[in-house]
């Protein structure tokens, strides 16, 4: 089978989208959740001595959590929409 024929059989556009979505979602959610942990731990460390810095870290944690929740919500709603 020639490469051209194989390309016609396999929908490369769809496969590329699968790769793209998996990379963005898998790595993006990992970064966001790592930031949640980092923000929460740092906020706890600085809570007494540097409350402003602790607040900034807490904000990063909350933002990370929102990104994770949004990614999950978007994924499920996309599945349901098809």
């Amino acid at each position: 089978m020639s490469a051209l024929a194989a390309t016609k059989i396999v929908d490369l556009g769809q496969l590329a989208q699968v790769v793209e979505v998996a990379l963005i979602a898998g790595i993006g959610v990992s970064i966001a959740f790592s930031l949640v942990i980092r923000g929460a731990v740092r906020a706890g460390e600085h809570r007494r001595e540097r409350p402003v810095l602790a607040g900034a870290h807490a904000l990063i944690a909350v933002a990370g959590l929102l990104v994770v929740a949004a990614a999950i919500g978007f994924g499920i709603s996309t599945m349901l929409a098809k």
Binding site: D11, V18, L23, G26, I27, I31, F33, R38, V68, L80
Partner: protein, 371 residues
Amino acid sequence: MGSDLILYIVVATALAFDFTNGFHDTANVVATTISTRALPPRVAVTLAAILNFVGAFLSLAVAATIAKDIVDQSLVTTTVVFAGLVGAIVWNLVTWYFGLPSSSSHALVGGVVGSMLAAHGTAAVQFDGLLGKVIVPALIAPVLAFAVAGIAILVCYRVVGRLAPGPVNRGFRLGQVLSGQMLALAHGTNDAQKTMGVITLALIANGNLAKDASVPTWVVISAATAIALGTYIGGWRIIKTMGSRIIKMDPAQGFAAQGAGAATILAATHFGYPLSTTHVISGGVMGAGAAKRLSAVRWGVAGNIVVAWLLTLPCAALVGGVVYGVTRVFGGGAAGPVVVVLAGLALMVYVFVRRFQRGVAITTTAEGTRA
């Protein structure tokens, strides 16, 4: 009457396959959660069963692929579907017995293709669909999960690198509760649909549904229930292989592996690719391990899994073809499937009794090391 009896047998066999699919595959879903102690085994399995049930209702794209894109619908008979299912179940049980996490999905596709080849020859198989919708995605998916998990774990370590390990591990264990459930949801939506597709194929072959009909609601509910029950009753032996024999994981690695698996499966399901959860989570587990340290992965065990992957399609096809031949010996009616079912049930009881006489493997992996 005879054809209806075969249809009932096919539906029962398909649900039995779905049950073994949950029994066999979902262990892969919860293995990392259990091995890092993010959740106790029973809780992890219960949650996975619930999410499998819910996931089955999310999409029908994979069911459509199984019903329309792999074999020529107009040549399918209920006996062909039955023989394909038996081929898949037999291969599932063989790999389960030996603790090899092979693919239930590819066993199902292999079984149906094998019985179609035995019944009608090569013209009855849509090799374009088989290549484009099953084989190529099957090759890409584990590599993709490997890469995503590998990059994800490196990023995770980079972000939390200087923090004390205690709270970081607690955080990622919490994250694993989430990523594990997403993986269970993804598993439910991809794997339960394969059974839905096969039952729909049998209903069309028997004249109960039009060719372009959608999957009936009762099929969705029964497939969801069967896979959830199979999940709950569990595949402890496979859990042992996936959770600890491939790699010893920390919670961050477990989170990265599960997140990569869930993202890959959900993305593929959206386009109707019938992926193997086993392939994907194996790729994720190995990627998360290899990114940290190549020697952390037990490559011998990983090699055995690859061999099981390579053997699944041809072996399930072979069994499917042989079973079709056996049913034809008893004529075109229901006698052949009935004989095969009775023989299969006897074999399954024997295998289960032998298996459970050996004890429950998970206690040596998660709970047994807790003290």
